[in-house]
Amino acid sequence: MERETRVSFGRVPHSLFSGDLREGSWQLHGDQFLLRGEGHHYFHYRQGRGVTVERGSDADLSEESLWLNGSVYAAIASLNGLLPVHASAVAHNGQVFAFTGPAGSGKSTLIAGLGNRGLAMFCDDTLILNLADDRPIVCLPGHKRLKLTPEGIEVTGTAREERVSRSLDKFYARPPAGEVGAVLPLARLIFLEDGGDLQISPISGAERFVMVRDEHYTAHLFAAARNFDRASQFAHLSCLARQIEMARFVRPRDTARFDEGVATVADYIKAVA
């Protein structure tokens, strides 16, 4: 991935097909990916040639690293047979415990909270899975810095660093227990859900299929990159559902009970690993 994600600057095509590419949208064709940010800000990737960025005069450069580390990185992973999952993760005893949920569900804040209990961060926001071997699925170390909302910083007591971008009210933060930079097997994919009582419970059977099917974040990118038809998409999701151990973590969204929730998760991880 390091070789594929190297960045250079210059002119790039403004469309991989006929017609213009709208702001904030992307195209994928063969071994190429093209994304347009705001204004004339283009990101072009071609397998084996890395990423070329074209900065128009109206490009918002404060967003550039977000585009590169977000959609562009996910597309590069997908085109190279790796599956990006919308998840943040910690590592313990040589295994990865990943937490997934919609934007704003508290993934990063939970990672910072677990860091306060000695669990090192494995990745934030995007977990890259290597599905090349049947078992176990292994995870590539994260490429993004930890990003927290002001509320996340307050509830975890994490030291705030610089603001992420002008448009995003988030700040970079140093993971309290550091980071792990090794390729490790995935022990659990844990879905964050809101609820009244703290509880971690396993997900089994067909529900696993439903859960991975509903993980929409970059599924369309991966499906497009792999040229999936309906049957092969089903086979792919079934394979994931069979291979990935899953659980759900239900907790009240109450800052007064945040530490209690973190303790519950930390105990769970230490019992499993």
Partner: protein, 88 residues
């Protein structure tokens, strides 16, 4: 004997734990089978008619054939209505 067969070109399936997920290829809709339904699905192997499925299922569950016949009939009818089974 009228044998019940699966129309395998119309769906794809996957075993996950003890359950089966089936997706219709024509519309992408999927559903899951668990418990007894999983067993009945496996008994539809292209060699049995409905009565033979009832006999095999009753034997499997040590149940009376008359108790299980209505369930098998409903199960087969439902899957036929979905276009996943044929009776030949």
């Amino acid at each position: 004997m009228t044998v019940i067969t699966k129309l395998t070109d119309r769906f794809t399936e996957a075993d996950i734990d003890q359950e089966i997920v089936i997706m219709r290829l024509d519309n992408g809709e999927f559903f899951s089978l668990s418990g007894t339904a999983t067993k009945l699905w496996r008994l539809i192997d292209g060699t049995r008619d409905e009565e033979a499925i009832v006999v095999a299922a009753a034997s499997e569950y040590s149940a009376d054939e008359s108790e299980i016949a209505a369930d098998v009939h409903e199960f087969v009818g439902c899957l036929r209505a979905m276009g996943l089974l044929a009776v030949r």
